[in-house]
Symmetry: C2
Subunit: 226 residues, 2 copies
DNA sequence: AGATCCTATCTTGCATACAAGATGGTTGAC
DNA sequence: GTCAACCATCTTGTATGCAAGATAGGATCT
């Protein structure tokens, strides 16, 4: 997956590393990132490091205060809910558009990811489920036929990655998620745009038991980070 | 509006200037931006200029090809349609959420922008209409109560600015737009979430006569840029 | 003549040097 | 004893210098 990384620039490498570190909770909320220390740690100069800072600030993981430095920013729980609310709407819209352009080949691909997910559930393999799930959603973004929408959805999806991943660790979440995938596919197969959109919205939205799941996941990252 | 700009960094100033230049069509599609020439022109070093490049690349106005340089990228007409399609959905969602939290104060503010728009139409003042329109939409983003959604809507709104602005120059567009604002306000006043969302979607979406309006606007930027 | 390879030159990517603003501690005054 | 102001120090923002990759032009070979 990351095989072609040999020639990427240092600022990109640093950006990826830093993003991973932040997301994995290597820093605490509000911590200031020291340019000199980090550049020494990554063995690069301050220039590419600062470029990485700016990219991360653009995606919301850092806040750059002029003349004061870069501070890591974990979204508040409330903000995470807000992001999921938007994600649900974007994905529902993808479904609505996709349902007009469904092809047998597309449905076959989608069905394949569902099978993969089912096997992951059977073997209780979170990693496998995670990847098949990525593919499921990615296929629907593509099938929307609106590549700008697809790109935006991918961006937000990526940003929500840590929370989604942690949610999967909650007992029973995988099986529920799988069933929801099935209902989306079924609606798409029937060509029912509204039903597909609604199923997808329900799949993403934080509601019912998922409230607690998310809160638990969130606390877990917060503890790690603190 | 831009009164506090005195203390902003050079890279921010350069970013703003460059963004304006690109949007106003100072460069042609695919043109490579020369770091040295531009840094001399803006009287800054290459460092802040490169930072500006990266910020502009992040918002899609430039494409950075490693070791080759920065190239200006105008979205294809198709991509502009896609962006409007997403914008329509985001704003419709804002309306749906906002309709649950409507307050008399909010409705009064909204009504005020409509009055302002009406006066702008009466005096055929595109600039005035443009600003009142900004305020109308901004109020609804805020009223959604989802600040992440509001920020995303603002971002996309900003990116579509040149096209929206040019559309207003098309004869009769202002009056139509005003009427649509009125219908949105009316639906919000009634508390009809679905109607409000639909009116807003129709207001933003590129359909009917707006097809031609947008194409004309687009050609105008393309000519200027070419 | 056409194509390919080599080289000179240009441009980017990165490192470092320097200047200006922010921070914190100490000293002095009230 | 407390508050404020000043100075030393640290950190960021910017400029410049240097090395490696890209490009273009010419020379050589087929």
């Amino acid at each position: 997956m990351h095989a072609e990384n040999a020639l990427t620039s240092r600022s990109d490498l640093v950006r990826e590393k830093l993003e991973e570190m932040i997301v994995e909770g290597a820093f605490s909320q509000g911590e200031r990132l020291d340019e000199v220390k980090l550049s020494q740690r990554f063995d690069v100069s301050r220039t590419p490091l600062r470029e990485a800072f700016q990219a991360l600030a653009a995606s919301g993981l850092l806040v750059l205060e002029p003349r004061r430095g870069a501070f890591v920013r974990f979204p508040a729980l409330e903000e995470v809910f807000e992001m999921f609310e938007v994600m649900a709407e974007l994905e529902a819209f993808c479904c609505r558009l996709a349902s007009r352009r469904v092809t047998p080949a597309f449905l076959a691909d989608l069905e394949e990811t569902v099978v993969e997910c089912r096997q992951a559930v059977a073997s209780d393999d979170v990693n496998r489920y995670y990847h098949a799930n990525e593919r499921f959603h990615g296929l629907i973004y593509e099938a929307s036929g609106n590549s700008f929408l697809g790109a935006e959805a991918t961006r937000l999806h990526r940003r929500l990655k840590p929370y989604r991943r942690l949610q999967l660790n909650n007992r029973g979440r995988m099986a529920h998620s799988l069933a929801e995938h099935g209902r989306v596919v079924e609606a798409l197969t029937r060509g029912d745009a509204e039903a597909a959109a609604n199923e997808m919205r329900a799949h993403i939205a934080i509601q019912g038991g998922k409230f607690n799941d998310l809160i638990v996941s969130y606390r877990r990252t917060a503890r790690k980070a603190g």
